[in-house]
């Protein structure tokens, strides 16, 4: 049994962890402070830690680089793909959890698609969407290079396997007795799903949705290759400040902060579920 006395080892442990934590958080601290530093201080050597904060870089990022446009693009794509993923995914993962559809093989096939290197998919997509963009249907559905629909398709594919696996773990947690009881009360299978299972699984579905939003928001490879101006997303937009004439560190830090900060809040919100999410539902932290 542990004694209640505070030992030197306790203090040492704490100091080591805090030292590592400081190193870990420093880049993010530096990003935030750089975003409010006046330009002349940003380029000072040695770097300055104290300064008069300014918000000019945020102003610049939103006025010159059209950052509001990138944010709205990212939101449309993230919400659109997450919606499709949750609708298709919850039905499928419920079937896997309750009816053992495909006997496990199908679920593994789905997981494998998530493990594909994105670059192998993006090249054929580049050609397919280039062609689709010139057809009437493609234009109507916003499919084509530099179109939002294209990104929705890409993010849906990459988040769907993840969502199915994560939601599967949540559906497994719901006792089947409740569903059987509802069936005896005369509910149809679909009604049981809507009226009994979904409300019980709502927290898990919300967690999955937030994860999907987070992944879509942070995604870079598809966005950087398949978009240019019209559908440009936030992670790609941060690169706007890497210009021909050099890197504008102030606006870049401001943009990066705008990109990173909301996702940090989301992650903190997800804290309890983060381990389960990161392991596709396999480890229940």
């Amino acid at each position: 049994m542990r004694s209640k006395k505070i030992t030197a080892i306790d203090i040492m442990r704490m100091s080591i962890v805090i030292a590592i934590l400081i190193i870990t958080l420093f880049p993010i601290y530096w990003m935030i402070t750089t975003s409010v530093k006046p330009t002349d201080i940003i380029l000072m050597t040695p770097p300055a830690f104290f300064f008069q904060p300014t918000f000019e870089h945020y102003k610049y990022a939103f006025e010159q680089a059209n950052f509001a446009h990138y944010i709205s693009n990212t939101l449309i794509v993230a919400l659109g793909s997450t919606f499709i993923v949750i609708v298709c995914g919850s039905l499928a993962s419920y079937a896997f959890a309750r009816y053992n559809t495909g006997g496990g093989n199908l679920m593994f096939f789905i997981l494998t698609t998530r493990m594909m290197p994105a670059i192998a998919v993006v090249m054929p997509f580049f050609v397919i969407f280039r062609t689709a963009g010139n057809t009437a249907i493609g234009q109507f559905l916003q499919l084509g290079l530099d179109r939002l629909g294209t990104l929705i398709v890409c993010y849906t594919i990459f988040n769907l396997p993840f969502a199915i696996w994560l939601m599967h773990s949540f559906f497994q947690d719901i006792p089947t007795e409740l569903e059987d009881a509802a069936r005896l009360d005369g509910y149809s299978r679909f009604k049981v799903f809507i009226k009994v299972v979904l409300p019980l699984a709502a927290p898990g579905i919300a967690v999955t949705a937030i994860f999907c939003l987070l992944f879509s928001w942070n995604e870079f490879l598809f966005a950087s290759i398949l978009t240019r101006d019209v559908a440009r997303t936030i992670t790609v937009g941060v690169g706007d400040f890497w210009t021909q004439r050099g890197i504008l560190w102030g606006p870049l830090s401001a943009a990066a902060t705008v990109c990173v900060a909301p996702m940090i809040l989301f992650a903190l919100l997800l804290q309890r579920w983060i381990v389960r999410g990161l392991t596709f539902g396999a480890v229940r932290g």
């Binding site: 962890v17 934590l21 870990t24 880049p27 993010i28 940003i42 380029l43 000072m44 050597t45 040695p46 770097p47 298709c88 995914g89 039905l91 499928a92 896997f96 009816y99 559809t101 495909g102 496990g104 789905i110 997981l111 494998t112 493990m115 594909m116 670059i119 192998a120 998919v121 090249m123 054929p124 397919i128 849906t156 594919i157 769907l160 696996w165 773990s169 497994q172 069936r183 009360d185 005369g186 942070n218 870079f220 490879l221 950087s224 936030i234 992670t235 790609v236 941060v238 890497w242 943009a255 990066a256 990109c259 990173v260 940090i264 992650a267 804290q271 596709f280 396999a282 480890v283 932290g285």
Partner: protein, 315 residues
């Protein structure tokens, strides 16, 4: 009379409904939308990539150019390409070194934090920050931290009397700088999952070991690590798969340079396929890589995920 009619009606009702569709068929119906999405948008590009890899495709040749069928020429080219092998070897080196460091650091940290007396929750939460940030965006911030002239890291090196480094510009250093970045971002991943694993270990065997007077080292070797190993292997596999397709921070820091020392396989394929527009060669190479990753991932994950989910079911 009255005690009979309530269940009677319902049972016949259910029986009637069951005749419309069996549970198996119903399950397939529920899975169909997801499968349609995955088949059309996941497998179609894959087949298209196979199609591309069997033809001569040069997007710079103009829209009228015919994509001639060339059989396995592109695969032959890929397997004889030194740059392709160099990029693969570089990626393997990066993945092995980076993931090993992350595992060692993450596991040690998890043990440390697990034994902390105060602020466990807050500390755990703060380690989430690198994980949640977009690699492409923080990658650019790291480019600033690494800057040879006004970067903070050089200032720190000089402050303790060391020579400044050209972190991203020196061909001997650049790949290690990327490794440091990756370690910074993903060690918390290993840490958090290991910590969760540690906290869910069963109490009884440890109490028994304590009663038997087993040494700390023996407990670690005989109990902790064997019990933890499924989780650790899962973390290792997930991290390796991700490390093998590293792209974002490369694209926003070094763009593969200096020379090609930080050109990972994904960035290399991007350059061949979408900068030089040789989609045929790039597709052939991508399919080879895809095959390797799928075999590795499919083989490892299948066992692991099954183990984990079985365990969860009985908990």
């Amino acid at each position: 009379m009255k005690k009979m009619d309530y269940p009677m009606i319902d049972l016949t009702d259910i029986r009637k409904r069951k005749k419309i569709m069996s549970d198996g068929a119903y399950g397939i119906l529920l899975v169909t939308p997801a499968l349609i999405v995955l088949f059309f948008f996941g497998l179609v590009p894959l087949f298209y990539a196979i199609n591309l890899s069997l033809r001569h495709v040069d997007l710079t040749a103009g829209p009228a150019a015919k994509w001639q069928f060339v059989g396995l020429n592109n695969f032959r080219f890929a397997l004889n390409s030194d740059v392709f092998f160099a990029a693969s070897a570089r990626t393997a080196f990066f993945a092995v070194v980076s993931v090993s460091i992350q595992m060692v650091l993450g596991i040690s940290l998890a043990f440390l934090i697990n034994q902390l007396r105060w602020f466990k929750g807050i500390i755990r939460a703060l380690f989430l920050l690198p994980l949640a940030s977009a690699p492409a965006a923080v990658g650019m911030i790291w480019r600033y931290l690494y800057d040879a002239d006004f970067g903070v890291y050089n200032a720190a090196l000089q402050a303790i009397g060391l020579q400044p480094l050209n972190w991203l510009g020196d061909s001997n250093v650049a790949l290690f700088s990327i490794i440091i970045f990756d370690v910074w971002q993903w060690t918390p991943f290993v840490l958090l999952i290991t910590l969760a694993g540690l906290q869910s270990l069963p109490k009884e065997p440890f109490e028994a070991a304590e009663l038997d007077g087993a040494s700390t080292f023996k407990v670690l070797r005989r109990l902790t690590f064997p019990l933890l190993s499924p989780v650790l292997i899962l973390v290792f596999v997930l991290r390796s798969i991700d490390a093998a397709r590293l792209y974002d921070p490369i694209a926003t820091t070094t763009r593969g340079g200096p020379g090609a020392v930080t050109e990972t396989i994904t960035y290399f394929l991007y350059r061949v396929g979408l900068k030089q527009f040789r989609l045929d060669q790039a597709s052939a190479m991508a399919l080879i890589i895809l095959f390797v990753i799928i075999v590795f991932a499919g083989f490892m994950l299948r066992r692991l995920m099954r183990q984990q989910s079985e365990r969860a079911r009985f908990n």
